[in-house]
């Protein structure tokens, strides 16, 4: 019963951490530097009642969800091309690595000018964060493909396209998902930073505006919601991985 032991440990640690926080907050007695638990939950309830939090979380979540799909799809397509075609690799690699190293926050204004301040721009921005880790790991997966399996398929009459579809692509799927898992965290951080930076609707804006007025209990209340958004996204990726990579010995073991 590893799960039971895990959740027991986690609950105990959570309670311990909350108690220590409360003790420290009372000793420090400064609501701005370290608000008490009661104040944080009060802020959370206030935010929920006014509907601000739900609306902001929905804004951020929908941009993340769609961005994950768009960026993931683009990453798989271009990564696969780079993996199987040397010409595509030569042509695209410099841009991929240059953009991967670019602080994408710098591109926020440009992306929003191209795609608008609404959902389109935000999705495009998330996709930009997601696409590179997926592209890089997909291309590695497609390139490393098992030569012996490809030869076996060829022996049974598979042409180049069929080998890509039936051998190279499935082989690359575990790589695709390790890229996607990495991308989820990057996307969340990227979007929040962009929202703070641009003062655009979403959890980032809430954080920025309450932070500016030193309403620490509100900032912390919003931060408590971020893991929920992250788990929602990561859970989707995990479910998809379980379905697609069902055949993998490691997947069967868990």
């Amino acid at each position: 019963m590893g799960n039971l032991a895990a959740s027991r440990t986690q609950v105990i640690w959570l309670l311990g951490l909350a108690a220590s926080w409360e003790v420290a907050a009372r000793l420090l007695d400064s609501p701005i530097a370290m608000p008490r638990l009661g104040a944080i939950f009060g802020a959370l309830i206030d935010l929920l009642r006014s509907g601000q939090l739900v609306e902001a979380a929905w804004w951020s979540f929908s941009a993340l969800y769609l961005g994950l799909f768009v960026g993931g799809a683009l990453g798989i397509i271009f990564g696969f091309l780079m993996g199987v075609s040397r010409l595509a690799e030569y042509a695209l690699r410099p841009y991929a690595s240059a953009l991967y190293a670019t602080p994408l926050v710098a591109l926020v204004p440009v992306v929003l000018l191209w795609f608008g301040m609404g959902l389109g721009g935000r999705v495009a921005f998330v996709a930009l964060w997601v696409v590179f880790p997926v592209l890089i790991s997909t291309s590695a997966g497609a390139r490393s493909g098992d030569r012996k399996l490809q030869e076996a398929a060829r022996s049974f009459g598979a042409n180049r396209w069929q080998i890509w579809l039936h051998v190279v692509l499935p082989y690359a799927m575990p790589f695709v998902f390790s890229g996607l898992r990495l991308a989820v965290g990057r996307a969340l951080v990227g979007l929040i930073v962009a929202e703070m930076f641009l003062q655009s609707k979403g959890l980032g804006l809430l954080l920025a505006s309450y932070g500016a007025s030193f309403s620490t209990e509100y900032v912390l209340a919003v931060i408590l919601v971020l893991p929920l958004v992250y788990w929602g996204l990561a859970g989707t990726v995990m479910l998809a991985e379980k379905r697609v990579v069902r055949w993998h010995p490691a997947a069967a073991a868990t």
């Binding site: 076996a152 022996s155 069967a252």
Partner: protein, 266 residues
């Protein structure tokens, strides 16, 4: 149908190790004729080009010189008249047993009811009850049964087998050898079988072709005059079996000695 003629095949590979460019002559003017329905094994010291020869016959690679003809047609690429069984099984890990076998039917565009053809071959190799297992859920012996079923399912005239039982333990190997003989009896395929096991070659084949060390040439062809079907009696207890084994081993041993003398000299 199912005659294989290998005519004056030569093949060299260029190997690059840093700045060193080395040409390796794998095969040197190999000639071999296999009659319809015949079971021929190819043995030889390791690295003598056995697998290269088989890949050329399958059409996966082309020879530098010479040609392979199946029923009088020159081989230029893999074709429907041949099917290969691989040493490491060559099964797609993301496809179940049924899907792996069906894959060959789809690639070869075989007409007819695929489900029915797959079912028949699953039964033929004794995989009933494992249709929906993934390869990693099966033992090596079971995986190679899938490999054999996949090859037979497209009804080739020539079955090419590249050390198919080398990765299996000794008991499983003997079980599958006997089963292969039964399948051969039922289907009357021409079989070309690569192995490094002299015991296996003598037990299974009508003829054993002994290749020399690299560059591989046919050193001698040994006719195995033990009666078929060999799965039906204890062949390995026959004095003649031991004589033939000894004889083939002597042929290979000379090549191995030459090789190790070369290695010592370097």
């Amino acid at each position: 149908m199912g005659t294989v003629e290998v005519r004056d095949i030569s093949k060299a590979f260029v190997k690059r190790m840093g700045r060193d460019v080395q040409t390796i002559h794998a095969l040197d003017r190999v000639n071999l004729t296999v009659r319809e329905g015949e079971f021929v094994s190819i043995v030889g010291p390791s690295g003598c080009g056995k697998t290269t020869l088989l890949r050329i016959i399958d059409g996966l690679i082309l020879p530098d010189e010479g040609e392979v003809c199946i029923n009088g047609h020159v081989v230029r690429e893999p074709g429907r008249d041949r099917a290969m069984v691989f040493q490491d099984f060559g099964l797609l890990p993301w496809k179940t047993v049924t899907e792996n076998i069906r894959f060959a039917l789809q690639m070869r565009k075989i007409p007819g009811d695929h489900s029915e053809i797959v079912r028949r071959h699953v039964e033929l190799v004794g995989l009933k009850g494992f249709e929906h297992h993934y390869p990693h859920e099966l033992s090596g012996g079971m995986q190679q049964r899938v490999g054999i079923a996949r090859a037979l399912t497209i009804d080739p005239e020539v079955l090419l087998m590249d050390e198919p039982f080398a990765a299996l333990d000794a008991q499983m190997r003997e079980v599958l050898q006997a089963e292969l003989l039964k399948i051969w009896e039922q289907t009357a395929k021409t079989i070309i079988f690569i192995t490094h096991s002299i015991d296996e070659a003598v037990y299974l084949s009508d003829r054993v072709v002994v290749l020399s060390q690299r560059p591989g040439q046919v050193r001698e062809t040994v006719r195995v005059d033990l009666p078929q079907p060999r799965w039906s009696y204890p062949v390995r207890k026959e004095p003649r079996f031991w004589e033939l084994r000894e004889y083939v081993w002597e042929l290979i041993r000379e090549s191995v000695l030459v090789l190790s003398a070369e290695a010592d000299g370097q």
